[in-house]
Amino acid sequence: MRIANNILPAAATLVMALAASPALGGELPADPLGSPMWEYHAEKLFTGGPVVFDSRVKVILPVVAEDQHVVPVTVDARKLDGVKRIVVFADLNPIPVAIDYRPMDAAPFVATRIKLDQRTPVRAAVQLADGSWHVAGEWIDAAGGGCSAPPLSRVRGDWADHLGELRGAAWSEGDTTRLRFGFRHPMDTGLVENIPAYNIETVRVMDADGREVASMDVYGSVAEDPAFTLVVDRDGPMEVAARDTSGLEFAGELAPMSGKKQTAKP
């Protein structure tokens, strides 16, 4: 405990500092969303630096969670410099963290789809090179069952026939390349009776020389058939590789301009 650091003049500050984890090296700001789980998650996730709510982090959610099994989330932190990590989490989900993204040679931008189990804040926490965490998010309403209902491919029974199939394409955007790709995978949460947890747990992107340009930890709260949109600071072919919790590996190459070729099709 580093109580000594926290003995400050204002009693209110003292109360808040004591409530926060000593590991934070600072006090936790009050949650503008008023979530009952804010402090719990913040203490676990935000090690190594101060935490601020920052409107330069854009978390884009739909006006309605039409399908609680497939809720699109887009995080755009391109207004911030030196982004090292983007953690997307839903406070009230049984599996709160969806992705933990490290854009090494990539823009601080990521889109995916997540499952929601109830009305919850959905947030992005962006960590900069100086260790500070920049957080934004909003509440989204959702009916129950997004994490505790079986995936469609389990209901249909064909999940194994298509496991790991990869679809995707690349689009040039000036000096950067937009990648969109998705894997067929049930992304079982482990919260459905008689179906153990089984999910893709890492996704990596490598350039033609095999250098890693982006990597991501992926959790069971990402939607079935997980899909991702990333923007990498490179051109040329990109290798996309994923590994699941059974150790199976799925990979493929997104050719440069493959998106454009698609567009040109009649």
């Binding site: 739909p62 699109p72 949109t229 998106g259």
Partner: protein, 321 residues
């Protein structure tokens, strides 16, 4: 933060009151109201009952779909009894009042609960629908019920999923001397009933036709829907009662529904092919000609959710492995 009782009492000036009481007001219990549907006679012996041009919400009790009352010599015909048991009862009372006769037939145009869930207020044998609609309700009725109870709470008191007992087949039916032509179509869902009252030329489109209210697509097959609209366009008529939105005395509603669906279809294709993610597709600007269409952004984003993963599976190339 701990706040002493003394501090709260001290703060109870005018300025202090609001923050102390605000949380209590925010969480105050809301009580369901009473439905008060209004019938407007739009043609001889035909009344339109307007729904709110909104999403299903507690504030409207789910009463968002249009219902129709038709007078015949034998009794009233009701098309789409609404979202709940108590709405169905209100529509039944209204039909009896405006026609002076009991309800002898109820048509449910398709499965969606804003149209179908009021059926419990009527003799189940008098409730007719397409076989596809009964099949859909058997599959989805319980899920709809859970979803509606969650949003509408007490408005739904006593509402159960009532299966239509009568099968509708396409063609002419005469009820109490009134000739109705029934069309068995699909596209908005797998079974969409449209009805033409031959005497007045009134076409009741169900949810194949929306008007100044953006079309909803949760069970839609867009190509099939466009085909159904062509079919309805070819039926001579003077008036169209859409499933949602105001009466159409020309051919605006069918054309507008077709225009919207064609735009949505092309926009979603383009979005997938140009590398947009779902959020970006959902933020696509809505063309000026749709500026007066209610809940356009809401339905656009719903349509993104309904179609995007399927379009990606179709349009993005398979790579690797």
């Amino acid at each position: 933060m701990r706040v002493s009782r003394r501090a709260i009492i001290a703060g109870l000036g005018a300025a202090g009151l609001a923050p102390v009481l605000a949380p209590a007001l925010v969480h105050a219990e809301q009580f369901a109201g009473t439905y008060d549907p209004k019938a407007e006679e739009v043609a001889d012996g035909i009344w339109m009952v307007r729904g709110a041009d909104e999403p299903i919400a507690f504030s409207n009790g789910g009463a968002i779909a249009n219902s129709v009352i038709i007078a015949t010599d034998d009794g009233a015909v009701v098309v789409d009894p609404g979202p709940s048991l108590s709405y169905g009862r209100a529509i039944r009372a209204l039909a009896e009042r405006v026609t002076g006769k009991p309800v002898v037939r109820v048509y449910v145009t398709h499965l969606h609960p804003d149209h179908s869930f009021g059926a419990g207020a009527f003799d189940a044998r008098s409730v007719h629908a397409l076989p596809a609609t009964r099949h859909d309700l058997e599959r989805d009725g319980e899920g709809f019920s859970d979803a509606l109870f969650r949003v509408l709470a007490d408005w739904m008191k006593g509402t159960t999923v009532v299966m239509p007992q009568g099968d509708v087949t396409a063609g002419e039916v005469v009820i109490g001397g009134r000739k109705l032509r029934l069309f068995a179509l699909d596209g908005h869902s797998s079974g969409d009933l449209a009805i033409l009252d031959e005497a007045t030329g009134t076409l009741i489109g169900g949810d194949l036709v929306f008007h100044d209210r953006a079309p909803a697509t949760p069970h839609a097959n867009l190509d099939g829907w466009l085909t159904a609209l062509d079919r309805l366009d070819g039926v001579p008529h003077d008036l169209v009662i859409p499933g949602h939105g105001p009466l159409d005395s020309g051919n605006a509603a069918i054309a507008q529904t077709r225009d919207w669906l064609t735009w949505i279809q092309g926009m979603l294709n383009d979005a997938v092919l140009s590398g947009k993610d779902m959020s970006e597709a959902g933020a696509t600007p809505i063309p000026e000609r749709f500026a007066d269409i209610k809940v356009a952004r809401y339905e656009l984003q719903r349509s993104v959710s309904h179609f995007y993963p399927g379009l990606e599976a179709k349009l993005l190339p398979m790579v690797g492995n």
